[in-house]
Symmetry: C3
Subunit: 633 residues, 3 copies
């Protein structure tokens, strides 16, 4: 396969007289893709029912004739102002019950039936008109589902849809009461219509209630997306993508992904480091202009799984952005490094966001490949370099890894609902494990929680899984390699109760969690072999072999043959030791890397990425700051 570059473009933002020149420059730069349309509803349908396609016809024609392939977005993330008049209650309500106002984006409620009908109409019209247009080559549904915390709506529409969803699931209020344990505080319902959303309660609501609301809300995203994919498929043969965001877990991307052909994500390494990656100040300072060395790779591996192998970067940060707490300039070279890291992880395409910096409105301080005055910005030349390098290089392919890491969106909801200790996060636990693997130079495959076949992997990790699915449980039983589960893995029933017999209930492993404790950051629990458990640990009992123990005697890691259970959150030292031991047992070569240097092997090449602001020497190679080095395997 040919790896390709692209860009996001908004013809409606510019004078039509500019389009042809823009298109020609894109093509000359070596770009293949141009994504358009996803925010242009007010231009496609300026008044209810009156469509204006002429401008879009001309834009697609201009781009296509320049040799570019168009990714066409459905505009449903930004319903125009008139939609509010037609459906005043289509807006989502926030947790406090306040309506989310018009004037930015993503103000719709996923559960509003009237809005869904409007979406079906515009998508149908778009699909009918462009579904077989020769310049269009792919679709994007909506834009960044869940961005700005928009999955959950506390509206009347959501309440009613949630009741229907519960009635389908439980069939009787009694079954729901038993499932949720509503007897606990006299919370029993006599009718599904008595059930509300779990906001504004005096103290915490029932976690089972919240968990079902989270599942429901995730299902609403999937069905909203499916409404569009079904229409698009009816009218068009082109593959369909959605552009996900980083570190956003409000809905199950695997479920939505099942209706799509391509997973894509919007990668803003500096924005994410400033805004959401938890790290100590020194780490944030060191990588302020490069981004976290693992955050992108983690998402690449995750979205490769969500896309069942097919995935893109739909938006790649090209320079300073506008939305993070601090918005530094990337180190020269990073716009190239980030693209190559994506290709090394199997990306089919990397599209920069955006072609030209818009001088107006919310994102006017967001860099593009061009400045507002159309002069090339820093990333323009780096994109050009990547385009030339791609042209000169055979496809690097992708590769299977020896190590698999399970990722489950529902588990992130579960521990957000019940952290039990301040800040316990499933997402960051998994990312912590991922970083540990990547610091050892390992390729990692991320797998969904219902994976039924692990035979391709020597080492499988499943930390923090709320419940073990039946297929995964069976696959673990059949697995011949090493597996490492815990902490918290399989510690709840699907109804969000503690199972009896006590968890983790792993086949063949005689271990029970007698109790758990969460700990402040300044109270690590030292282990006998060095390092410590932090944040969280569990008191295990049972006859499983104790592989590691705390100084106070509590088991820290137990095993039955190759099945391991980790009874806490390991610090870096502990994690490295445990992973190296597991790799050694499975004959997986590890390559502990210096700070900020990362490695990724493809089918044909070994890539080294230097995220440091200083040169890195490794394996006889010296790599400059922001440098990429590859060698054939």
């Amino acid at each position: 396969m040919k790896r390709t570059l692209g860009v996001c473009y908004y013809p409606e933002h510019w004078l039509e007289t500019q389009w042809a020149e823009d298109a020609a420059r894109m093509a000359k730069l070596g770009l293949t893709w141009v994504r358009i349309g996803e925010f242009a509803w007010s231009r496609m349908e300026p008044e209810p029912g009156r469509y204006d396609w002429a401008w879009l016809d001309r834009a697609i024609d201009t781009l296509g004739k320049a040799g570019l392939k168009v990714v066409l977005g459905t505009p449903t993330a930004t319903p125009p102002r008139w939609m509010i008049d037609r459906h005043p209650d289509m807006v989502a309500l926030d947790k406090d019950g306040k309506p989310r106002g018009f004037g930015s984006r993503r103000h719709y409620c996923f559960s509003h039936k009237g809005y869904r009908t409007e979406c079906a109409k515009i998508v149908t019209a778009l699909a009918e008109r462009y579904g077989k247009n020769p310049h269009v080559a792919a679709w994007q549904t909506d834009n960044e589902y869940a961005c700005h915390a928009t999955t959950l709506s506390y509206s009347k529409a959501a309440t009613e849809a949630f009741r229907d969803w519960l009635a389908q699931k439980y069939q009787s209020p009694d079954a729901l009461n038993r499932g949720w344990g509503n007897v606990f505080w006299s919370m029993e319902y006599r009718d599904f219509n008595e059930i509300g959303l779990p906001n504004l309660t005096v103290t915490e609501p029932n976690p089972s209630h919240v968990m079902d609301f989270r599942r429901f809300a995730s299902d609403e995203v999937a069905s909203f997306n499916r409404l569009q994919t079904e229409i698009l498929r009816k009218h068009s043969p082109y593959p369909i993508a959605h552009n996900y965001m980083g570190a956003i877990t409000e809905f199950d991307h695997f479920a939505t992904g099942a209706d799509l052909d391509i997973a894509s994500w919007d990668s803003y390494p500096l924005g994410f480091l400033s805004d959401r990656v938890p790290a100590d100040p020194e780490h944030k300072r060191r990588f302020v202009r490069q981004g976290d060395p693992d955050f992108q790779a983690f998402h690449h591996d995750l979205y490769r799984a969500v896309g069942r192998g097919r995935w893109w970067i739909m938006e790649q940060q090209p320079g300073p952005v506008n939305w993070a707490p601090y918005n530094p300039d990337p180190l020269p070279g990073m716009a190239r490094l980030w693209a190559w890291e994506a290709f090394a992880h199997g990306a089919e395409a990397v599209c920069y966001f955006r072609w030209r910096q818009a001088p107006f409105a919310q994102e006017q301080m967001h860099a593009g490949l061009l400045r507002p005055d159309s002069a090339p910005a820093q990333a323009f030349g780096e994109a050009e370099t990547v385009a030339k390098e791609l042209a000169a290089m055979p496809d690097v392919g992708t590769t299977k890894a020896d190590v698999a890491l399970i990722f489950d969106y529902a588990s992130d909801w579960a521990w957000e609902i019940q952290p039990q200790g301040r800040g316990f996060s499933y997402f960051w636990l998994v990312f912590h494990i991922y970083k540990g693997l990547r610091r050892l130079g390992l390729n990692v495959d991320i797998l969904p929680p219902d994976t039924g076949d692990l035979s391709a992997y020597k080492l499988v990790l499943a930390p923090g899984l709320f419940t073990l699915s039946d297929p995964l449980k069976a696959a673990l039983v059949a697995h011949k390699g090493t597996s490492l589960l815990g902490p918290r893995t399989n510690s709840k029933t699907p109804n969000f109760s503690i199972p009896v017999p006590l968890p983790p209930n792993l086949p063949g492993l005689d271990a029970r969690i007698a109790r758990v404790e969460s700990l402040p950051p300044d109270c690590p629990v030292p282990l006998t072999e060095g390092g410590a458990l932090i944040n969280w640990r569990e008191k295990l009992e049972g006859s499983a072999t104790v592989v590691e123990a705390a100084e106070d005697g509590w088991p820290a890691l137990v095993a039955a043959e190759k099945l391991h259970y980790l009874a806490g959150w390991p610090d870096d030292t502990t994690l490295a030791r445990i992973l190296q031991r597991a790799c050694a047992a499975e004959g997986i070569e590890t390559d502990p890397l210096p700070e900020g240097l990362r490695r990724r092997d493809t089918a044909t090449h070994r890539f080294l990425f230097n995220y440091n602001p200083v040169p890195a020497d490794w394996g006889g190679v010296s790599i400059p700051p922001a440098g990429v080095h590859w060698s054939a395997l």
Copy 2:
């Protein structure tokens, strides 16, 4: 008297087939009491007016026949879902005007007349049925009044009740305007119906307005409770208790306590240390598995006063809880130590919360004496030890102290309304003084603010009292021992104005507060004898003897004979010196204790408690971590 143990139990949470075995195990463990019923309204009255007592009859019968005595709770803290349909406006409104939703607990407004009628009905039904049941031996009203900040409601019901309360108090709007000083910002009212609640104002509301609202809200709790006690007494001879919480001061416990026979409180030492005790990080780290060494003792002494001598622990933390920021496992032995600390302070009974950890709903991560799989948890064995020790030991009795400390709920409201310096808290000022006393090995009696007889005490402390009541003023005049008042003591009129002549206006003490200042934490004011005043100090003038002074010459402690006034918040050094001087003057023996070791003398025994995670040596005795040592006096 025989000190006893008990447990909280929820038969409605478990299969009926399990009850008899549970009851037998409780009895075998040595428990006397089983508290039930307080969250079971939806089972007692599944539909409006339709009662179901059969299950509760059987539960009480089963427990009673096993030899246990039942404490039966009124279920009014958790009205069922149908109540909302009958009285949609019965929910409290928060400060922002948002209704507090169904789905957890304590969502009712104390002022809603319809809800009060419903409460009277269920309490009457309960009292009629079980008021003379031979297995029932005590009542509990509601559950943890004020928990989750539920005293104040900004509802229509509360507004109307507040207006009535004000009309009763002031009789005319003019009197109210004068009392509050409403001329200040043209805030004058022409009619009681013009008066609103003091929320949502642009800047701070009139403190007199807020103070009256706080008094009103406290009175509402008392009358809500009295509604129940009057019904219970009509039908039942058994004593009535309520279970208060720690560090909760939203209502006047003395006022509510006047209608009860027994005060009880719910003691969660680790949860409280993590969640609410202000302390430096090192202190929090050191005592993370033991709890603050004084927090429990303070509440024991406080609730002994609230209960006029009769008090219990109604809920005792047995292991990790679920609700604090961090929830560590208690050090082995603490579930025993905490019980003995309570008995040494005169508790009649200590009930662990709860029998078996519930695997479902909000508190599924809250430990019990049993694990969810019915195996004994850590505290089970410790409770067993305590039961045996109690059986082997004569009653330790209680004892009067030489030192009295006044505690006044209204003063906590006052300084919360007008801290004048960030974080000035009456509660923590009094606790600070209490800690200073306890570090000297002293027994302390806490007294209500209308105490009229101090003759039993050699040393009386009354820091921070908003106003001095007439009885207390008279008692201080008559007091032959040393008294120590201030800072801020008697600095306001009951209407929340500064009195003229200027405070503190203490009989015989020529001292006036010329002005006050609040200080940032990094600006201590050094005293000539060492130590400093922190947070707060007052500039005194007058001819009273200056006992201590600041380096800048302001008096820090003044006296007229044995009546002392402290003109600021003393740091630990200053506090120790002042207390030791006062004790020496009164011939009270002090015994400055090492960190984390605490002492309590009863009528018959001296108890030493080691709250440290390491052994403590004292007076020739070595006490292990979490250890208790007693010797006959």
Copy 3:
């Protein structure tokens, strides 16, 4: 001109029997002015339409006969309770849509037409009665516009008025859509009535939308004030003032000031240091009892500009206040120092707030010249000293400075809307530059952003200006001295877009901002000559001379002849170097002062102010803590 002292007085707070004695003491103390009336609406008009002037007649008469001149305030900041019944929707709504309740002050919405009518009525009545009263000598409109963040209202009245304002400005929705770039996220409007206020959006609203809302809101303050000044001028020859607050920029004071004769401000040095001056902890600790050494001077210079030369202190802190996070006692002498700092900056009058500390209501802990018991408080004697010193001294005059600093309220709105890096504040950038100038011993004139003549100044600074006005641009072109612009100066069009060609677009300076970056506090960018840029920097390109550069090669300061552009936020070291170089070039003598010592030259005298808690030696003079030293020039 004779500099004078005054005091704020509330006859309605005191028994009428007290007035004469108070007035006599004021006169004896040497006070000239007494400000009254601004919170007394409920006494002036106890019921709608029924006026009661008798008490006010007598109060003015009593004060006037004692020889005092009255400043009479309009009472519109505190509409009485009955106003809410007449106009329930007159209250402002906060950003969340919550109504701002009665019970404190400033609860009105500036856009409410009914409330404006009520204000016109009371002001007319007041002006008719007292407009020519011989004891009245000046007016004050309302009180502290914008205090407690009261400029912005999200009410229906504001929404409708905003739509009218927009329609006037843009004339067509299409013009507005183009101006704001509403095509960006399908935010286009078809009618002005579709436009809402920019609150409650899902993510940030369009900055152009917010900027116009801020301009509108500022205009509403100006027209509200003008409504009053027009009435007052019709009936009275006396000058009109308003009392502004410190560090409050919600509305354009220059615009409001254009309708006034005198600018005045309320100076609370300790409250401001505790509450709003950003500084490191050591600075806050050192000046805890003195206030920031530059904060008052900055406002003096600012309000001298707002008042076009005529300005007062309407409220001067006399002792501890009640409203800051911490409220320490001023160092003895500060109430004198603050007054002299004001006079040295040209104040016509300094009025202490307030005569006697009110023992009731919200400000009962706010010191006055008298204590609640009428004894003199600390500041009483200091005011007496100032009065005597004023009497003994010829007028010190004021003086023009060599250095001018532009201040623009709209720029503060702009960068609050679009900080681009956390905490970027225009106000504190300008203050940072001001401090740099004052540390060099310089007099500074602050000028409005539409200044058209800079010929009086050798050095002109204009940091952070959102846009350059045409007059200022012309004045800069004509300016023969040195000018220093940037960072961010002129970086936007009036519509809040990035201009093309790229900013700063300064005449004769070939420099363009290729891109900008915001930086965390721990990421300074070192410069080759020492020091660093912090928080913010810009990448410049163009042929302008590079005067300073960063170590990574980016220009930091560029120039074309005497026009300089600074490409970032300078740290103290860098700022001092740049300012000293500029002063040297212009022959301006600098006098780098020791910490906490400040200097101000008037037409006749050189003043030195010691803000330190320790003595300061300078130029052969030793000045005690809180001391003032002057010498004839």
